[in-house]
């Protein structure tokens, strides 16, 4: 019986191993075959065997940066509001609502972007009459990651000992000063976790993005311009490509996978470093 349970537990390791093996076995040789210069070049043109995904990497990074900045700024402030600047009896219902919204499928957010944000940007904001692009995608993704950021940051704030708050007030600080100068910095490791989660969600988000990003494999030069992220490249080609072109998608996936591993690893290192840096609590 123990063996059976062990097999189940080992399944995750096995699955992770398989994912790595399949992805790398198929994707890495392809990069070798077409050459690093080609693959990390700027030109994606399948007929002339140009598989450059640099513009997509750049688009992915822009999208991730922009949506994380918007999402974290708004989400963190929202969490701070819910923490101390909001009527107490409103907090629980708002939290419930936000938790509910965290479970909404990403295609719904994409749909919202498609039918509301893109037309709005096109008609009201865009200088060139194009609604698609990085801004639309970043807005959609930042709305999508808001619930996660809010709940993780709020949990982090709630975990800060109340004694700090009282200590700050007793020194003559106002409620606001105590929150911004003491409680918020004290919650920074939890907030960092929220940021890392959002970065992971943003860089990996596919469906919400492809509905509003346009999809042209060109280097992003404007917020209102049809571009393509790595995820969009994979999903858009998925149903129509075959042969080398399909393998190019797998290679794109390898690069994306590499980015997320890098993110997870740097976060673990950061967390480990903090634990080690944190001094021991003694009672003498």
């Amino acid at each position: 019986m123990r063996g059976l349970f062990l097999f189940c537990a080992g399944f995750s390791v096995l699955a992770l191993g398989c994912i790595c093996v399949f992805l790398f076995a198929s994707g890495v040789p392809f990069i070798g075959k077409v050459g690093l210069g080609n693959f990390f070049g700027t030109k994606w043109h399948l007929n002339s065997e140009a598989y450059g995904i640099l513009s997509m990497i750049v688009a992915s990074l822009y999208l991730t940066a922009l949506s994380t900045i918007i999402g974290v700024a708004v989400g963190l402030l929202t969490a701070v509001s819910l923490y101390k600047f909001c009527p107490k009896n409103a907090v629980a219902p708002i939290r419930q609502l936000i938790n509910l919204l965290a479970g909404i499928p990403s295609v719904i957010y994409g749909l919202f972007g498609l039918i509301i944000i893109v037309p709005f940007l096109r008609d009201k904001i865009s200088p060139n009459g194009i609604g698609y692009g990085l801004l639309a995608a970043s807005l959609v993704v930042s709305i999508m990651i808001l619930p996660t950021i809010v709940s993780v940051s709020l949990d982090a704030l709630n975990a800060v000992p109340k004694a700090y708050y009282e200590g700050a007030l007793a020194l003559g600080a106002t409620n606001e000063q105590s929150v911004f100068r003491v409680m918020l910095p004290a919650a920074k490791s939890g907030i960092l976790a929220a940021v890392v989660l959002s970065i992971g969600r943003a860089i990996g988000e596919t469906m919400a993005v492809i509905m509003v990003i346009g999809g042209s494999p060109v280097m992003p030069k404007s917020l209102f311009q049809s571009v393509r992220t790595m995820t969009a490249n994979i999903a858009m080609g998925a149903t129509e490509l075959s042969g080398d072109a399909a393998t190019a998608l797998v290679s794109t996936g390898v690069v994306l996978f590499f980015f997320t591993l890098l993110l997870n690893m740097s976060f673990s290192l950061l967390k480990g470093g903090e634990k080690r840096g944190k001094p021991q609590k003694t009672n003498t």
């Binding site: 009282e166 007793a170 003559g172 600080a173 106002t174 100068r181 003498t284």
Partner: protein
Amino acid sequence: MAEKYNITVRGCDLFYGDFQALKDINIDIEEHEVTAFIGPSGCGKSTFIKTFNRMNDLIEDCRITGEILIGGQNIYAKGTDVTLLRKNIGMVFQKPNPFPMSIYDNIAFAPRTFGIKKKSELDDIVESSIKQAGLWDEVKDRLRKNAMGLSGGQQQRLCIARALAADPKILLMDEPTSALDPISTGIIEDLINELKTQYTIVIVTHNMQQATRISDKTAFFLLGEIVETDVTEQLFGNPKDKRTENYITGRFG
């Protein structure tokens, strides 16, 4: 704020909802003296000390009636600036609560709150406050290190220094040594004796020896009332009330 910093309390009642935690409290606390509040747990002594800097405002459905005058001014009067009140009345808590930031930033917190930005000025305040708290030699080389790395006793002296940096006139201490070992406790008691020349000190303690060692006057609390207030030697040597005598001789509590 007034020039004098004596505390006068007249007919103070305090309620948490329907529960009356303090009943008709009357007391006079003189400047530059150490006044100790003693009594069994739950007698209201900690609740009472928190009325002086209005920390009870934090508790919902807490209601206070009667008069609490500091330097002749009612601190519960409308229009009282609570932040200034708390600047002038420092507080040290039962458990050391340094902020999770550097030692320097801990001490500089209150001066910065009140608008001091100049580095030289902050440096001076930080140094003199830590020196006053007798901690300078131990931390002068690591002011930029996180305060959570200090020992419990050092943390508590840091909290005292942090309170002093706000330039208070009164220091409230809510069982400041109950979480500390005997050596740290001794250091803090010596410190209190030094500080009383400059500050009015009110200390809650459930350690009667501590009260006799450091306080000039002592008030004995029981079930939300002050049973007896007197010069410390008098109260312990010759209590007027039977209940005080029972308590200090260890018959209950």
